[in-house]
């Protein structure tokens, strides 16, 4: 049996391998297709963002939600305001008592 030299360093073998590699031809308008796909991907991202904003805006404009949101904000604001007001009134009353028994102490 004849021995075959398969040493990749062999110049003859390397030449043969290079010639045998098939470079497929690009399909027609390949570059244009690539650019179109890139543009489409970017357009999809913008559309998704726009859809998100639009749906949030629509959601906010629903009367029931707007009413509930306003009521919740008024309740929260009032609660915090009453708490703060009560605290400041308490400090004022304390200062008044202390000023009465230990004059001008807090002035």
């Amino acid at each position: 049996m004849k021995e075959t030299n398969l040493n990749p360093e062999d110049a003859k073998l390397r030449g043969l391998l290079c010639r045998s590699r098939v470079a497929p031809a690009l399909p027609p308008r390949f570059q244009e297709g690539v650019w179109r796909r890139i543009e489409n991907a970017e357009a999809a991202k913008v559309a998704a963002r726009r859809n998100w904003l639009d749906s949030l805006a629509q959601w906010l404009l629903r009367p029931k939600l707007a009413l509930v949101g306003a009521a919740a904000l008024i309740l929260m604001g009032s609660f915090m305001g009453v708490r703060e007001g009560a605290q400041s009134a308490r400090h004022e009353a304390q200062a008044r008592y202390v000023a009465a028994v230990a004059p001008n102490l807090l002035r």
């Binding site: 009465a100 028994v101 102490l105």
Partner: protein
């Protein structure tokens, strides 16, 4: 997209305005309503959970103390004016100045002791736990501001002492 953004920003602005408005209105109303009280002892009743009989006893002590306090403050104001007069134009500490300053210090100490005695009496008119809390609080509020008390003694007695 621009319209949606405008809607979102508008909703945010309205939300902030609604919250801030309700906060400020309720705070003002509450503070004004609670601060309307003209009774000096309102704070004691609320802070130390006094019932009517305890408050009545405290009121009695308070009303008994105020004239004494006013009298003491007037004496201090007179002595302070005396010290000022003695010091006006003086180039050194004369015997008169020394005597007046000593007397002024004595009066201040006497005033403070009278105040502390009043605090003790008031604390004893309260339930024990509230009483000790009151005593601790008043000592912190008054003795801790000793310098301020002294500054307050410089004016005319009635005006500078905040008594009605």
């Amino acid at each position: 997209m621009r319209r949606s953004l405008a809607i979102l920003l508008g909703a945010l602005a309205v939300g902030v305005a609604v919250f801030a408005g309700s906060y400020l209105v309720s705070q003002q109303v509450c503070a004004r309503h609670l601060a309307n009280a003209t009774d000096d002892l309102d704070w004691l009743r609320n802070e130390f959970h006094l019932n009517d009989s305890e408050l009545a006893r405290v009121r009695q002590l308070h009303e008994g103390y105020l004239p004494k306090c006013l009298e003491m403050c007037a004496r201090i104001a007179v002595k302070k004016a005396e010290v000022h007069r003695a010091l006006t134009g003086a180039t050194n500490v004369t015997a008169t100045v020394e005597q007046s300053v000593r007397k002024l210090s004595e009066l201040r100490a006497e005033c403070q002791l009278q105040m502390l005695r009043h605090f003790v009496e008031v604390s004893q008119a309260m339930p024990p736990e509230q009483g000790s809390r009151y005593l601790e609080k008043m000592q912190r509020l008054t003795l801790g501001s000793h310098e301020k008390v002294e500054e307050s003694m410089s004016g005319a007695a009635g005006q500078s002492h905040g008594h009605e």
